[in-house]
Amino acid sequence: MASRDRRFTEDKTVLCVDMDAFFASVEQKTNPRLRGKPIAVIGSQGRTVVTTASYEARAYGVKTGMNTYEARRACPRIIFVVGNNARYTHTCREMEKIFLRYTPDVEVYSVDEAFLDITHSHRLFGGPVAVAAKIKEEVRDLFDIPCTVGIGHNVLMAKLASDLGKPDGLNWIKKEDVAGVLDPLPVDELWGIGKKTAQKLEKMGIRTCGELGRAPASLLRNKFGIYGETISCMGRGELGRAVEPTQGETEQVKSVGHSITLPADVTARADVEAWLLRLSDMVGRRVRRHGLMGRRITLTVRYSDFETVSKRVTLDAATSDTHMIYYAALKAVELLNIKGAVRLLGVSVSQVGEDHGQMHLMEEDRKRRDLLGAMDEVNNRYGDGAATWAVLRGRAERKRSRAGVISPAWRPTGVRNVQLK
């Protein structure tokens, strides 16, 4: 407990780098004709929800989560662009490299957000503001897209600083200014407090963070349990969570998984198999990148009526081989006896441990290991899908332009399981 308590009180210097309308910015950067225009990125042609709107579109009131009809009603001139996940993840990975020049403690929180603990390194670069400015400059130089950097004494305040500084901003909430900033701030502007919690708080007469921080902790505890204590601290700008570096987080990993909401429901066995190969490949790659192996493969299937079922297959020995993961997923398909239209597929590997380097006896296994290693290298250098399976080429190529919806929890590095949404 002692170390945990210290975390609460110990002040850090944390940066939150948040890309401004990330997907939309990347699209506008890639296609000059979209620049300066209201655009909205949608997950795929088969789906109709706005993932990100450009600032031009936001001016008309277009928001994330609207469907295309609502978006068009708000802004008749809006241009819909189908997202390109590979491009976003590649950009994100390149950005991580920039961050790592300033500190090893980088937590890539999501595809467009990262936390950097620069407590000990900012002096080398001339202070927090200098680091923030340099990062903004480097991102601008490399990708020509804007980002906002927030600085705070913990993750929560850094995130708030960046939220308040958007777009293209650099905002530092100094420790001594925290109370002043929080006092009039509506509670739901605080990261981690959702609409439902805000509604409950409002019924208790708590509307602002200042009121939240001053409310008796016991009252909040009665209403929300342990979470009550957390939000009480949050109301005072405290958060007992340190930046969790996404590199080297292999120790506590329990499982590695990917799931995808398909661009359109599928019924054909061949389609299911192609998606499974793709997911197995993503999972295998991530497992290998972190030097891990797992013994249990779990397949998750969500039908069009949202009924969700899963089946797990335990192998004789742990593996990180895409083929083995894929074959196990196929076996699970067999056991599940899938019927009906499939909306979402997920593949995960659990019972994960370090790859302890057991070598293969058979030539073909060794060759496949080498092949996967070579594919990983090519894909790391030239982006996902640069080297892939022919079967995916045919199928996925057609679907590339309408690739599945990327989960907001997707992380380019790190092995944490991506939860089903």
């Binding site: 004789d316 370090e354 380097g357």
Partner: protein
Amino acid sequence: MKLTVTRDELLGRLSNIQNVVEKRNTMPVLSHFLLDARSDGSRITATDIETGIREPLEAAVATEGVLCIPARKLFEIVKELEGDISLESEDAQWLQVSSGKSSFRLACLAPEEFPSWPEMEEAVEVKLKPDVLEALVERTLYSAGESDTRYTLNGLLFHIEGKRLIVVGTDGHRMALMESELEAAAPEELKVIVPRKTASEVRKFLSSEEDVSVHIGKNHILFKVADVEFLARLIEGTYPNYHQVIPEKNDKLVTMDREAVIKALKRVSIMSRERSNAVKLDLEAGLIKLTSTNPDLGEANDEVAVTYDGEALSAGFNARYLLDVLQAMGTESVRFELHDQLSPTLLKEDGNENYRCVVMPMRI
């Protein structure tokens, strides 16, 4: 159907089939066995589709008949009964089981639902001593896969070439191979994959003196052990080329005491990392040093005296794999044949070329 049978006869026969009948509830009929009562000889048949077992039942049959009886339930009932047992069918639905003052009514299935015993296609017959077959299975099965997605590995390869029978098991990390001489040469070369479960079940019936007769067909293999018949559907597919895997250039030959190295491996692997079982072997003249380290726990060191005067070599191994091999071996001293730390290691009993095990090292 009406018959009387001694408790021991029925219990023994039912016990034989318990592992074959299907426990999962996928097809109810597979958790039943077929009793075919004839005055000229009664028979019990059980199957899980992959493996079938057929055996006689010594019984006094008053009325002939066929019935499909729940295997597990009748076994449990017979276990608790004393004295002779009478089985009487009321119709195709109900079986009356009685002994002394105890009686049971057991729900049965129509015999037509029971899968028919497959016709054995044209087959090659070989005869084996029961102890030879037992050794062939016992000393290779531990190396075979269990739930590998490469399903051919979940069985044993039976390779017959002239007068030689070679049985091979591998899971892709290690391989065990045992050779035996047949009394008569087979007319053609044969390579078949016998499911793990069949091999494991047959093993339990090899205590008799009589030769085992093995009939190998295109799709099935039949083992006749005394009065029990085992029939299995062979695993289709191509088994890995095991010749390729056996190292031939291994020049570092080490002889050591089997018990001593087993004990040292068991001690040292206590400190191995969970799941990996990694143990490092440092070979030098006259000595093998065994080490394991676990960053969370600490480390272990041990030494075993060996006969060796070549150059030093270090290699990592899964201690489990080495122990499985060493425990399957029977001689006092064993031979390790190594090449380098990335190549497969060959293990043999000292003075026996018929049993060879290959273990792939771990990267260290």
